[in-house]
Amino acid sequence: MPSTTTTRPMHVPTSGTAVGELLRVDNLQVHFPITRGIFQRQVGTVRAVDGVSFAIKQGETLGLVGESGCGKSTTGRAILQLHKPTGGSVRLQGKELTTLSGEDVRRLRREMQMVFQDPYASLNPRKRVGSIIGGPMKIHGVGDKGERKQRVQDLLETVGLSPEHYNRFPHEFSGGQRQRIGVARALALRPKLVVADEPVSALDVSVQAQVINLLDELQDEFHLTYIFIAHDLGVVRHVSDRIAVMYLGKLVELSPAEELYQRPIMPYTEALLSAVPIPDPDLSEQRERIVLQGDVPSPIDPPSGCRFHPRCRYMTEICREVEPPLTDYGNGHFAACHHPLNVDAETLRRVEASEKLSPRSADEDATPVDPGKGRSQPVPRIPDSR
């Protein structure tokens, strides 16, 4: 199977060369056991993240979207090793993180930080702003007391607060200001990678725009790389260079941002985009809206084949039985679907031709795949850096 990747024209501009690559996630899996009884016997598994692969270039913003329970937050946390991945690899600048000891991971957190969704719950109410933002520096032994104070005050200014706020408590701030404190804390150690998990969803729209602009400015200033996790497709489009769409623990589409909105390939993406309400009465009247039936199935017992098939309007027999691989449709646009939309005939021919070279053709997969093997299938198809 790896041979097929070389036969395919691999033009993945955004994942770029190995030089600019900051993070590479290969076949990441995070499973949570469901236990029962006093012996904590395992009775099932929540496949929260089930074989996700992507690479991020330095300075890039990757948007991670999907509905609740699709595994986007778990992916973000597993990258930072806040959840121990069940399988797969996470490499930061070529360094494997999943096998590191706790102490080593802690040391590496200097390089990667997180901004949380809830600006109320993510700041300790009994600590002053100064010690919240200075905390990471203290833990990592950066500078002495005076230097740290200076840094914190600089940071406060950088995120649009006043250095005089140093001695205040979190409750004295509004939601937007607290999120700025959360951002300052994440930046305290000058990380390379920031995972922002729904950083603006708890904020009012007028304040949302302030925080988005701030994140944008900081990215330029500190040359940050973001993984931006959000469910708001408008916000994600605004901030992202590339966007990954997840559904039930799987990466179903990965594309340059604008292209995803113009030309979604996966029917789930199409439906997701059409469901976003648009603030224009005429447009919202005219526009074709695809209303998906039913709910997202449970990740404990995901549907066979393509996980989206029970809700998909293009569903055929093959979707029920065969899990579609993540396929390269050119221009850095990947999607996992048996009935790709918005793909011209020539691209389709090319993709099918390279598919034939694959030792694991669709027919062989006709039986429901066994979790271990079948789910690892998309691995070699990830945006490659060579």
């Binding site: 609740s68 729209v205 408008g234 976003v276 309400p277 009465p281 998906l292």
Partner: protein, 331 residues
């Protein structure tokens, strides 16, 4: 609703949540109440239902005329008959709004027995019909399930079924889809639209999401700091917004129907403190178009074109005031 004022008397002072809100709603009409948190949109709706917790809250003045009766003057017993019967409400969080220890069937039929005087079996039959109406699959068997056995979207359907049980004339929907995923939100909005057509009820839709109201409301009230600052038909408001706050809101959201912008245009500053609101126009400290007059005097809601009213001294898009144009360029 006429000149409604609701205040909360707290330790830190009097929170002026709603400051003289007036509007009318016709039979079968859908009205959107839009604004950010703390703008008074939910408090207006709760005041209408007389559900303001008292103390600390109090409806200081105003009248709410519904079908020829002033709801604020009704006896508590009479008001209870109005609630659920004539006016029903659905809330943002369908989990905390349902009783977790009662089956959903029981919760819906209770209202039917109470308001409609149905007996148990008739109420149960009607409950199943209602659950089918709101699109719950296998309603006959699910009627005996408990709330935790339903997903978020399904719970919201149950809430809607409950609200519809007595065929209300007015449905108050307070952020009914905010807690839901977009695909589920689309389902619920479609359901509300369909039911409104079938049952001909009026709707007040309270939301912070301009996209949601655009798809559903005939008329929209934009609220800020307890005042209505702009009101008009949905078409007018979205195509010809005139209050600086509405303009700011529309500009600050990244929209899928427009090309991607280099930078978002946020509204600078923070929403005002309602204990100690700024003098004059409440939006004045954040307003890029503010003129001298805005500080001492709070503008009232005045028509700019028929059916479209704004509370602003500076008609931003209408006038050719050079100062305004300068400010517009700066934005």
């Amino acid at each position: 609703m006429k000149d409604l004022r609701t205040q909360f008397f707290t330790q830190d002072g009097v929170v002026k949540a709603v400051n003289g809100v007036s509007f009318t709603l016709n039979e079968g009409e859908a009205l959107g109440l839009v604004g950010e948190s703390g703008c008074g949109k939910s408090v207006s709706a709760l005041s209408l239902m007389r559900l303001i917790p008292q103390p600390p809250g109090r409806i200081v003045s105003g009248e709410v005329w519904f079908d020829g009766r002033n709801l604020l003057k009704l006896k508590e017993d009479d008001m209870r008959k109005v609630r659920g019967n004539d006016i029903a409400m659905i809330f943002q969080d369908p989990m905390t709004s349902l009783n977790p220890v009662l089956t959903i069937g029981r919760q819906i039929s209770e209202a039917l027995e109470l308001h409609k005087g149905m007996d148990r079996s008739a109420a149960r039959k009607r409950t199943i019909e209602l659950l089918e109406l709101v699109g719950i699959p296998a309603a006959r068997s699910r009627v005996d399930d408990y709330p935790h056995q339903f997903s978020g979207g399904m719970r919201q359907r149950v809430m809607i079924a409950m609200a519809l049980s007595c065929e209300p004339k007015l449905l108050l929907a307070d952020e009914p889809t905010t807690a839901l995923d977009v695909t589920i939100q689309a389902q619920i909005l479609d359901l509300i639209k369909r039911l409104r057509q079938e049952l001909g009820m009026a709707i007040i839709m309270i939301t912070h999401d301009l996209g949601v109201v655009a798809g559903i409301a005939d008329r929209i009230n934009v609220m800020y700091a307890g005042y209505i600052v702009e009101t008009g038909t949905a078409d007018e408001l979205f195509h010809n917004p005139r209050h600086p706050y509405t303009l700011g809101l529309l500009k600050s959201i990244p929209r899928l129907d427009e090309p991607r912008k280099e930078k978002l245009v946020p509204i600078e500053g923070l929403p005002p403190d309602l204990v100690d609101p700024p003098p004059g126009c409440p939006f004045q400290p954040r307003c890029p178009y503010a003129v001298e007059r805005c500080v001492p005097e709070n503008p009232s809601l005045e028509p700019v074109v028929p059916g479209h009213r704004i509370a602003c001294w500076v008609d931003v898009t209408g006038s050719a005031n050079p100062q305004v144009e300068l400010a517009a360029q700066a934005v």
